[in-house]
Symmetry: C2
Subunit: 339 residues, 2 copies
DNA sequence: TAAAATCACTTAAGCGGTTAAGTTAATTTA
DNA sequence: TAAATTAACTTAACCGCTTAAGTGATTTTA
């Protein structure tokens, strides 16, 4: 089962490979007679020839490949999609890329290989990095000669395009919303806030809202773990053990909000009667829970579309750095009550 | 920012590109002196050289790339992940592939390009196709000289490896479980059953169970639409309009089960008091709903791992066709009651 | 009607690697 | 000590495709 190459087509049609290449790429500058063109096209069909993009990209220096790096939400776990956020995002990225003739080279973070290595290895035309990573591996990307889009990373680097939302504002919105509804003891449920990332910003927004209202930050209200349903469920128990001091919780991801709802239910507590909850992201999931989740909406699809578009633009020669801050808003559903 | 090639390294180290290649690939058959090796390695580090896998694969005929095709659950929609099942599956595929030095080339179904074209275009080392597609595009894959793994497709083709579960048995299990608990009027909620695929098989299992119990198939109990949360929600309304004749429902996907729960709740009906529900897949989500979903469990992670492993094996020369039927079982949770 | 331009191709070099088959100098063997 | 090995490389061809620079024949221009 040997691969059929352009040579085979050339031989079949009785011309040089160059002529075949010209016909296939419709070079306007080149004139090929109608008969020859037809003969070549017939040979292509007969042999069922498909050009090898790999070889082509060797000369053209374009691969029509976009590298996408998605984080492992829980280290060591094979599921990078513990948070469906990534699924929704990846989905639009793939769709937009495909509509534009690009394919996706997908990779989780590889401990053995830096992203820049992967990118150069495979010579992708652009790379989209989602989420936070150790700063070192990001700056390595400097060596890349292809456009880099950082989604949801708080890395201030003039070399990279960035897409994100105002996470701090989001945290503020969510917490303020709860405060406005009479809540004073508001739990903060999230993954780690120690690293510079969306979670930390949302945390700062939380603090801003407290300050704004003259409320003190109570460290006992902080429940920090991993961004997973299970962790949030356990938080419900922890709250119970601590005597259910909170009347509300701000969960920095919908998946956490969902876990919290479930955890509370298990303990026989009612949402929002016993605890009001605001989530973050507005995943498809947010409508699925019962009660449905009041949450900070962000346009995940737009994030994905933008990321691809930036790379497309860059391929067209638009070199100026883009910095997109997409709008957010609070979506009221059923998980919050006024007290 | 020109790319650094093996030539640059060769020049820097004062040797031929061949020598560099030998050192980098540690050809045992070749003897390179320790000093030269060291000099080359130093040049590699100094120039930060990373070999171009694209070029390499041109000669080696291996790309270390696995093509993955995931269906668009809702045609025209950009979200292929309307059903999180695919997210969970893709996640393990990616992880397993990466552990073995492979990257993923991700693509949704492209109307303009057949999978075989994509595969040959990009010259992937193997291709994993998930879900059902028009038969034509699958048989096109015959032309491929690389291993093809079909996941969850009911295509009887001796040329392809397959992985799946006994969906019919699953449908039987679910429906029988409901019948055993006293249900007689059991809705069947699913996507289309017209095409040969997992849904059709589950439907057959549903019918088997009815027959087994001497129950007649009532066409009014069939709710066929798309595999999406929203559709299932609308089914709840439809049931209402038809007078709530059913005491139970078999939803052929967890996402449908979830939608049904939500839809029922909206109408003020209780689960499982007013309607018992059995789902299918046992996604992470199944535990998230309230009540949690009784469902047919399948090992999604194992499906993904197997798919990659088959390709890995094939690359090693194991040519015999593999046909994996993974075990399933019913997981009892809270969405079914005995009547 | 000779020179210039155009047409319809082909030659050959190169993209970044790999690898079979040399080549030269140093060792080993007979 | 001449012949055969071996060590340590290099040359050159090739993978499949693109493209700048020919080339010869035909057509157009002056």
């Amino acid at each position: 089962m040997k691969h059929i190459s352009i040579k085979d087509v050339a031989k079949e049609a009785g011309v040089s490979t160059t002529t075949v290449s010209y016909v296939l790429n419709r070079k306007l500058s080149q004139t090929i007679s109608a008969e020859t063109t037809e003969r070549i096209l017939q040979a292509v069909r007969k042999l069922n020839y498909v050009p090898n993009l790999n070889a082509r990209s060797l000369t053209s220096q374009r691969t029509n490949l976009i590298g996408v790096v998605i984080p492992q939400t829980e280290p060591g776990k094979e599921f990078m999609f513990a948070n469906p956020f990534y699924g929704e995002l990846l989905s639009t990225i793939e769709y937009t890329a495909r509509r534009n003739g690009y394919h996706l080279l997908l990779s989780g973070p590889d401990p053995d290989q830096s992203y820049s290595q992967i990118a150069r290895n495979r010579s992708v035309d652009g790379i989209i990095i989602v989420g936070s990573y150790p700063n070192r591996s990001i700056t390595e990307l400097h060596q890349l000669s292809v456009p880099v889009v950082l989604v949801d990373t708080y890395i201030k680097d003039p070399l990279f395009h960035t897409i994100g939302i105002d996470d701090r504002e989001g945290g503020l919105l969510a917490t303020r919303y709860l405060i406005e509804r009479g809540h004073r003891e508001i739990a903060f449920v999230s993954g780690s806030v120690s690293e510079q990332g969306v979670t930390q910003k949302r945390f700062m927004g939380y603090m801003d809202a407290l300050n704004e209202a003259g409320l003190a930050l109570n460290e006992k209200r902080l429940y920090l773990g991993t961004v997973s349903f299970d962790f949030a469920q356990s938080v419900a128990e922890e709250m119970q053990q601590r005597g259910n001091q909170e009347t509300a919780a701000f969960a920095t991801a919908d998946i956490l909000g969902m876990g919290l709802i479930k955890g509370m239910r298990r303990l026989g507590r009612r949402i929002p009667e016993d605890l009001s909850i605001v989530g973050f992201d507005d995943l498809d999931l947010a409508c699925m829970s019962d009660p449905s989740l009041t949450t900070v909406h962000q346009d995940i699809a737009e994030k994905g579309r933008n990321a691809v578009q930036i790379i497309l633009d860059a391929m067209e020669g638009h070199t100026e750095k883009q910095e997109h801050i997409l709008p957010i808003r609070l979506v009221e559903r059923e998980s919050v009550r006024r007290i």
